[in-house]
Symmetry: C2
Subunit: 167 residues, 2 copies
Amino acid sequence: MRDRKEQVSKASVWGCLAVLLLTTACKQPPPADTPAADEQTIRDLDAKWEKTAGARDLDGTLSFYSRNAVVLPGNAPIVIGKDAIRALWVSLLSPDISLSWQANKVDVSRSGDLAYVIGTYTLSAKDAQGKPATDRGKFLEVYKKQGDGSWKIAVDMYNSDLAVPPV
Amino acid sequence: MRDRKEQVSKASVWGCLAVLLLTTACKQPPPADTPAADEQTIRDLDAKWEKTAGARDLDGTLSFYSRNAVVLPGNAPIVIGKDAIRALWVSLLSPDISLSWQANKVDVSRSGDLAYVIGTYTLSAKDAQGKPATDRGKFLEVYKKQGDGSWKIAVDMYNSDLAVPPV
């Protein structure tokens, strides 16, 4: 009888330990190099990018792009090359403009080398007459994992939700 | 001496065979389930999609989207859900509109489950006054491999190269 009790007691201890281990495991961040870990990395990176742009840090903002990145802005031609992307961001980070964005969906390939982010932006500026104007829109970014393991933006596309005013 | 000759001759035969095999291998399409094969599959699929839309085949055009696809059009809000995407294409395939596009860059993840396509489009239509007007722009599509091995469009974004006319 005592043996039986001891067995039950031991079983309970092991059971509790197992539950504890599982609970602890569930609280851990996802293991590195999994799509879930990559997803979190990209969410954090995108939030950091938004903060860097918010601080009007031009070089910092540009550092999130890969070497061969392209930008596909709404109502403007494709922007190719470091210098052209810099010129675009010089205008986006001007003191008259206030830009913020928020990632919504992040999806990562099984191999953890390609991912995309869908989100929304708000851009407040002054229109041609100097009146305050707000543009709202959406973006689609393609992130690629680089040789050194870091994620960089390969394609950055955005467009406005607002209809083109009639001519 | 005869042995030497025979050896040289055999070596030449094997050498020629090896060259022949390599040449043949180079002429073969890339093996299935590699990023190169997937890239070609997606290029072919995108060209077929363009042809299907060109033929104003609404159901055919819609069949290229995944079940949970979203469209991010320029100067209009995000389009979510089968019915909303159908309504968008009903207007894009109207007899007054002529739409064509061309994929340029195709990039596939190592795992062959995620890819993106960058390209350009031309849309000819009549403006509010009934005058012919042409819009030129670019697109970024995200393709995802489905459970049955087929590739479907998960995200379809496009925007105009033309500046918004001043109000």
